[in-house]
Point group: C2
Chain length 130, copies 2
């Protein structure tokens, strides 16, 4: 990615969004698959997918395919990006981020990813049925 002002603005835009910043901050605590992120944050999976696309475009996250799952993580910190460091450092002090990370631990203990999308769909159906 070009090292010019426009490119930096695009990177900033990528995190100037509640969901995208939440996702990045969540991944700061460790790798997750897309469906786990959706389950932790309780948002539509398509929204998570779109958020991750932007974060990838901005060079903040990597992906790793494993079967039908896509695991995403923050790019390794080589000290090459003061911006990313600053964002993560500031984000970890936010209560929402702390809560999301606690919830991620629960989700992982519940032997998800195998069932998390299923869980989301069931929950949605429940809402409709009631």
């Amino acid at each position: 990615m070009a090292n010019d002002l426009r490119a930096m603005v695009e990177r900033l835009k990528a995190v100037s969004h509640p969901l995208r910043l939440r996702v990045l901050a969540l991944l700061g605590a460790g790798e997750l698959c897309v469906c786990q992120v959706a389950e932790v944050l309780q948002v539509p999976q398509s929204s998570v997918s779109e958020a991750l696309r932007e974060l990838r475009r901005a060079g903040f996250v990597n992906e790793r395919k494993e079967g039908r799952w896509v695991f995403v993580s923050v790019v390794p910190q080589t000290g090459a990006s003061p911006l990313l460091e600053g964002i993560l450092a500031e984000a970890v002090s936010l209560v929402e981020v702390h809560q999301d990370r606690e919830r991620a631990v629960e989700v992982k203990l519940l032997s998800i990813p195998m069932v998390c999308c299923k869980v989301q769909k069931a929950a949605k159906a429940e809402v409709i049925r009631v």
Copy 2:
């Protein structure tokens, strides 16, 4: 300002904009008045004013009134904002920012601020006349 995720997103939005990021990075090299910023960056003065309003709202810049001039500067770095530090650290490596800062030195040597708005208006009139 509240220390929640929404507030951090608002701060990020404030710099997710070419002009606003340029202004912040320019002020990182030292205090200037509004008209000097407009002269250095060669943009309408109202645009600079609006950019500064957002940067002030985000808590990135301070203002100091002196007569009819408003001098603006980056808030003192107390290490309390890793985000601001990261933004400035990343911005100083951009060629555009380097050029803007060099131009700021010229503008200050030309005994501006007293005449910089006048200069801008004259330049605009010139364009219209030709």
